[in-house]
Symmetry: C2
Subunit: 234 residues, 2 copies
């Protein structure tokens, strides 16, 4: 089930997996623009694999809804739209709040410890949040923090779907962090989330998480259309 998670980092033992990861990264980071055509014959050189291997990697990416394919007309990067992002944000609020409630209800001491640790790592990365490789580190730690938050939720399917939605949202979020029109202190939000979770205040934690996710959507929503389109085609 978990081909989207990529937890620790079990080295890719196959070329398909390697190409899959590179492609996914390039799509999420925007190096491959939304709706861009993915010509196999051209891309196979860039990623240093054969045609069949690349096709297989692209097929894998369909699971994450980062690539779409159509009949006899090849592959494309999944298109983006504000409506889609709104849908992603709302669905994520619904699922992630429920998962968080379950996680708070069932989490044990070890979970709390993992949570504190994940928050600490994230906080350290937030202090020095300038530069691009630092940024990747922050992205990684932010993902893990959210992952640990719901780790004690027993539903594998809920977590599976959230993993997909998280990566989808990340693609959009990459925009809002660079050109951020709504002022916000993400660190404070995460801190409040941490304390509410540790104190087992499920309603409060869910409310904070909900706001946290929706704020990111409103951030992108507030970006002027021209500026956004320029970004999206980049």
């Amino acid at each position: 089930m978990n081909n989207t998670a990529v937890e620790g980092l079990p080295e890719p033992k196959t070329l398909v997996e390697s190409a899959y990861r590179s492609l996914r990264r390039d799509i999420i980071e925007g190096n491959l623009a939304p709706d861009e055509k993915l010509r196999v014959e051209h891309l196979k050189d860039n990623y240093g694999v054969g045609a069949g291997t690349l096709r297989e990697a692209l097929s894998l990416l369909i699971a994450d809804a980062l690539v779409v394919s159509q009949g006899q007309r090849g592959f494309r990067v999944a298109p983006v739209s504000l409506a889609d992002f709104e849908d992603i944000a709302q669905t994520r609020v619904m699922l992630e709040c429920e998962a968080l409630r379950q996680s708070i209800a069932m989490g044990d001491d070890a979970w709390e410890a993992d949570l504190v640790a994940a928050f600490h790592r994230l906080a350290k990365a937030e202090e020095k949040r300038i530069g691009s490789e630092i940024r990747e580190e922050w992205e990684e730690r932010n993902r893990i923090f959210h992952e640990v938050l719901i780790a004690a939720c027993p539903s594998r399917w809920l977590k599976h779907f959230l993993s997909i939605l998280y990566h989808q949202a990340e693609r959009y979020r990459r925009l809002s962090l660079y050109l951020q029109p709504i002022p916000r202190d993400i660190h404070v939000e995460h801190e409040a989330l941490l304390h509410a979770a540790i104190n087992r205040e499920a309603d409060k934690a869910a409310a904070i998480l909900s706001e946290h996710i929706l704020l990111t959507f409103r951030s992108v929503q507030a970006i002027p259309a021209e500026q956004l389109n320029a970004k999206l085609q980049a």
Copy 2:
């Protein structure tokens, strides 16, 4: 996004798609047993395609979580378990009830008409529900009825996830219909669901749908372990 839906029936225009559908059908129907190893060299003859083509079809099935792959060890049919089915049922209750509420809130006259039509087609199939090709017809119409129920829900992601869960549940449900230990009148359940939806009684409809889904789980749960295992290995 919708590689799992297969709505009307746009003829498979490619061998990959064709193999994908045949494989999915065989997995859901249980012709390919849970956890069974899927050897490419052996299967390519059965489905009349090349090795690369079959690999691609298998990669596509990972999106539906009907196939799992592992490093350098090939593909397997996704395993099954009672715990997994419970998770599927509960997650489905959560998502499908929410989708149904939204659908009831937003559905227009055309939606009502589609719903009545879908129910009628399902009812006709229920009358003559004996024989195996009749059974396939019932399965198809049951799926469409559930699909139409939530069709007016505006969230594409919710519907996408539900489509995945539906096919997962179908695999388990195939068991409970044959050896049905809990007596139930599915027709009455569907009818109550239809009327609650048309009358815009969201709470009532959600309650019925919730019971409807959970009853299927309890049906499988009530099957004696030996009998179930025999089925699962078949």
